[in-house]
């Protein structure tokens, strides 16, 4: 609740199984982003419970939140790549901060970049990449910690239909490896193309689940 009786999400009871692929859809302001923010523990609910892997996210300490987030990958609509850092640096941002050696970082970054098909652009800067490539780098960054859960907020919002499909196929591949994937999008065509479980939100309530 955002105060004064305004609810971002209300009466929402959803269970997402491990390894599942779920779309969140709905109009702008329906509560898709809040749903993801709750799962990432950027926000805690004013009422109710958010459990991931049996843990009540609201009860985590700051340190536990940090540890939890290392098990979650997040992809933004606007990629949020650091323009003055190379692809390698962007992807290895957190492993480097966490003290991985240079060799370990490079090996892991290379593997994940190879997986998204951009290992040859390791030393490029984001500005030298196309929109689709930038989003693939952002996905690589989300995968570098080998997360159990990947969240994406309108990951294709800035891309044309062909590239959107390409990115969605990547998410499908991620899911095929056993990773739970939750994608918020209002692109119904894309949803129908991928054909996975879809939660439709409207004014903070789940109005459809199929």
């Amino acid at each position: 609740m955002y105060g004064r009786g305004i609810y971002a999400l209300r009466d929402v009871t959803v269970k997402i199984d491990k390894g599942e692929f779920v779309f969140l859809t709905g109009a702008s302001g329906a509560g898709k982003s809040t749903f993801l923010r709750l799962l990432l523990r950027q926000e805690v609910p004013t009422e109710g419970l958010v459990r991931v892997g049996g843990r009540d996210l609201a009860r985590l300490t700051l340190r536990q939140v940090q540890t939890y987030r290392r098990t979650v990958g997040f992809v933004f609509q606007d990629f949020k790549l650091i323009p003055e850092r190379t692809v390698l640096d962007n992807v290895s941002l957190v492993p480097r901060a966490l003290g991985e050696t240079s060799v370990q970082q490079q090996r892991r970054t290379y593997q994940v970049l190879k997986w998204v098909g951009l290992q040859h652009r390791m030393n490029a800067y984001p500005i030298e990449l196309s929109g689709g490539e930038q989003q693939r780098i952002a996905i690589a960054r989300a995968l570098v910690n080998e997360p159990a859960l990947v969240l994406a907020d309108e990951p294709t919002g800035n891309l044309d239909p062909d590239l959107s499909l390409e990115i969605m196929n990547l998410f499908r591949d991620i899911n095929a490896r056993g990773t739970t994937v939750v994608v918020a999008t209002h692109d119904r065509e894309l949803i129908s193309h991928v054909a996975r479980r879809t939660l439709t939100l409207d004014h903070g309530r789940v109005v459809d689940s199929k």
């Binding site: 950027q42 987030r69 650091i82 957190v94 966490l98 003290g99 960054r141 910690n145």
Partner: protein, 295 residues
């Protein structure tokens, strides 16, 4: 060790990203530490002059004519116990008269032949410099005046007390002004580091969302503050040394009438190190103030 290296590398990267802001912040820190260092430099040299002149000071303790042997013993014990007294010379009534006659032959007519010698016996004290603005000398003077058998105590270096007062005033003015400027430096460093944080907000947000420890998010900002403050202090120290050399050369002839210019000195290593450390501490506070905004 890794975390420290990471923070240092990121801090340097941030400094280089905005050279103009870095220069402004370092300049503010430099001005603050330059003013404080300048006052310290003047204070250190005034203190040297004080100690030098104090070293030549003497005190005379005049004894009552009816001083008893016990009182004399007690007085000698007080003098022996005092750290201020370097050496002492007893001048008897006869010695005092002889000295007076030698110094003032015209005035001494009849004194030598008179039945009573009016000059008192005394103890002349050579004093040891204490470097405490004359407080220990004043304390000894008070103690001696209250000692039985002492008729009077003369310490004719009141100007040394005045110098001590000036010295103390310079010190306090320096600390006061320095404190104000250091506060300004803290705020400037904090603002500049916050600007750097703002420039890196996407990076910080991503790192937060990917579970980077809060220490690794705040650490580079604190280190950046330390580099701002410490760097500024180093610049100010170099500038202060240059100013010291110029001032010594320019004021040489005037200075020579008061003290041998060769006896002036730059800040001792401990103080200079303290100044740089203080600058770094200012930066640390500024950096920490900025880093608190990362939650």
């Amino acid at each position: 060790m890794h975390a420290l290296r990471y923070c240092l590398v990121e801090a340097i990267r941030s400094l280089m990203r905005a050279p103009g802001a870095t220069a402004l912040s370092m300049l503010t820190s430099a001005v603050a530490t330059l003013v404080l260092g300048g006052f310290l430099l003047v204070s250190v040299n005034l203190e040297r002059v004080f100690v030098l002149w104090s070293g030549t000071a003497e005190m005379s303790v005049y004894l009552a004519d009816d001083i008893t042997p016990e009182q004399r013993v007690a007085l000698n014990q007080v003098l022996a116990a005092s750290p201020v007294v370097a050496s002492r010379t007893f001048v008897s009534k006869a010695d005092a008269l002889a000295r007076f006659v030698r110094s003032f032959p015209d005035l001494s007519t009849g004194l030598e032949d008179g039945p009573d010698n009016p000059l008192p016996a005394s103890i002349e004290l050579q004093l040891r410099p204490q470097g405490d603005d004359g407080r220990s000398i004043e304390s000894l003077t008070r103690e001696l005046r209250q000692t039985a058998g002492v008729a009077d105590v003369r310490y004719d270096r009141q100007w040394l007390s005045r110098l001590a007062t000036i010295l103390s005033g310079v010190r306090w003015a320096g600390w006061g002004l320095g404190a104000v400027l250091l506060c300004a430096a803290v705020l400037t460093v904090s603002t500049i580091v916050r600007l750097a944080l703002h420039a890196r907000r996407d990076e910080v947000e991503i790192m937060q969302l990917m579970g980077a420890p809060i220490g690794l998010l705040r650490g580079p900002l604190v280190v950046e503050g330390i580099l701002h403050g410490g760097g500024g202090a180093l610049v100010s120290l170099a500038l202060l040394y240059a100013l010291y050399l110029v001032a010594r050369a320019a004021a040489g002839p005037v200075l020579a009438t008061v003290i041998d210019p060769a006896l002036t000195t730059f800040l001792p290593a401990g103080l200079a190190g303290g100044l740089v450390g203080g600058g770094a501490a200012v930066g640390l506070v500024g950096g920490w103030m900025a880093a608190r905004h990362v939650r």
